[in-house]
């Protein structure tokens, strides 16, 4: 294990890339569009540029933005048992915990399902739109992108969508349960979130934030 690069090694820092998972150091060679650079030691994907990825991510982000807003307010499940009807939206579900100390849980739930995904979408647009339009990066774009990456594990909209399915199975024999429009929106959201992750090459974003003129 060497913490400091060998001073005799005549390589400038910009020609090196370090695997963030296992710390193996490689000489940088940017792969072609559609190819991947993979760490030989731990198989982590280092660079994976895609054609027009920026534009695709912006399109997906916009779609996600409106789906989240829509999914928040339209009812997503309705229940009918012996004439008693009830339909709930995501906001209702989040604030199911709104009594006493469980209010904290309500805020956390609303945050994880709605606000964190929304914040991530807004940050992504803020960072990527200037890059795609070949403008200089927005102010604090690097902080914004770092924050958005830090939020990634806490964005749980797709987990909530699967939670709907589990809840349905649990009460299917108790009452008639139907899907509202927001349920399908959440279904679409899951696909979009997965798609966005597969197009997003972090190395390319950082690189174009640092060198706005190249590519």
């Amino acid at each position: 294990m060497k913490d400091i690069a060998d001073p005799d090694l005549d390589v400038s820092l910009t020609e090196l890339i370090v695997c963030p998972h296992c710390d193996a150091v490689y000489r940088l060679k940017v792969p072609e569009m559609g190819e991947k650079a993979i760490c030989q030691r731990c198989n982590a994907v280092l660079i994976a540029p895609r054609r027009k990825a920026g534009l695709k991510i912006i399109a997906i982000s916009l779609a996600t933005f409106f789906l989240i807003l829509g999914a928040a307010f339209f009812p997503f499940l309705n229940i009918d048992a012996a004439g008693n009807k009830n339909s709930v939206s995501v906001i209702d579900a989040a604030f199911a915990f709104s009594s006493g100390p469980l209010l904290l849980l309500a805020l956390a739930t609303a945050g994880l399902i709605l606000f964190v995904p929304l914040i991530r979408v807004v940050l992504t647009l803020y960072v990527l739109v200037p890059i795609v339009l070949d403008l200089p990066p927005a102010r604090h774009a690097m902080d914004a992108f770092r924050f958005s990456e830090a939020l990634r594990p806490w964005s749980m909209a797709e987990i909530f969508a699967l939670g709907c399915a589990v809840a349905l199975v649990k009460i299917a024999d108790l009452a008639t349960v139907g899907f509202g429009p927001a349920f399908w929106m959440f279904g679409g959201l899951v696909v979009l979130v997965v798609g966005q992750d597969s197009f997003m090459c972090r190395w390319s974003v950082w690189n174009s934030l640092e060198h706005p003129n190249k590519s």
């Binding site: 199911a96 739930t109 699967l162």
Partner: protein, 184 residues
């Protein structure tokens, strides 16, 4: 070199974060502490026309099995009991194994770490199911479901295990191998 912050994103840089193990264990213990009341307190309070009962996670699964819904009972036990316990075990194993020289294949440990990081978030599904059920099943006198105190502890437990997994510095898995290759 000798820079302390990343020139690109401004994040603090550390070559090897040996303090990270302490944070891993701190969050791990917090997670385990929250996991105990999450299982002893009731998760759901169900009130139907004639009766009201409170069920814990395991109790609810046993009840479902008695009604013959073995599949769902199995899924609940797997998602709410087996996977969280496996997560605690896996994080502890990783944190212990980077300290000892006994070489489990690095690759399988890396995969284990990635699986723990990936699965961690999905445990929140229990909390979301409770939220959905208790907002949906509010049918006046006929039936109603309310969240029990265990839901908060379960959420905290999930959050603390996620933080614990994030605090782990996966590069430490590979350091022993690097030492072997490099005799200096």
């Amino acid at each position: 070199m000798g820079t302390q912050t990343c020139a690109r994103c401004g994040h603090k840089m550390v070559s090897r974060d040996f303090g990270s193990l302490q944070r891993v264990w701190a969050f791990w213990i917090m997670g385990l502490m929250c996991y105990v009341p999450a299982n002893t307190y009731p998760m759901l309070q169900t009130r139907t026309l004639f009766q009201s009962d409170e069920s814990t996670i395991v109790g609810g699964a046993v009840e479902l099995a008695q009604h013959g819904a073995f599949g769902i009972a199995f899924i609940i036990l797997l998602a709410s009991v087996a996977i969280p316990l496996a997560k605690f075990w896996a994080i502890a194993f990783l944190a212990v194994s980077v300290k000892s020289r006994r070489a489990t294949a690095n690759h399988s440990r890396q995969i284990m770490y990635e699986v723990v990081e990936y699965i961690g978030r999905w445990s929140m599904i229990d909390i979301f199911v409770v939220a959905i059920l208790s907002s949906l099943v509010q049918l006046n006198t006929l039936a109603s479901i309310n969240p029990g105190p265990a839901s908060m502890f379960f959420a905290l437990s999930v959050i603390f295990t996620m933080l614990s997994a994030q605090a782990f510095d996966s590069r430490m898995i590979w350091d022993e191998q690097a030492k072997d290759e490099d005799p200096s």
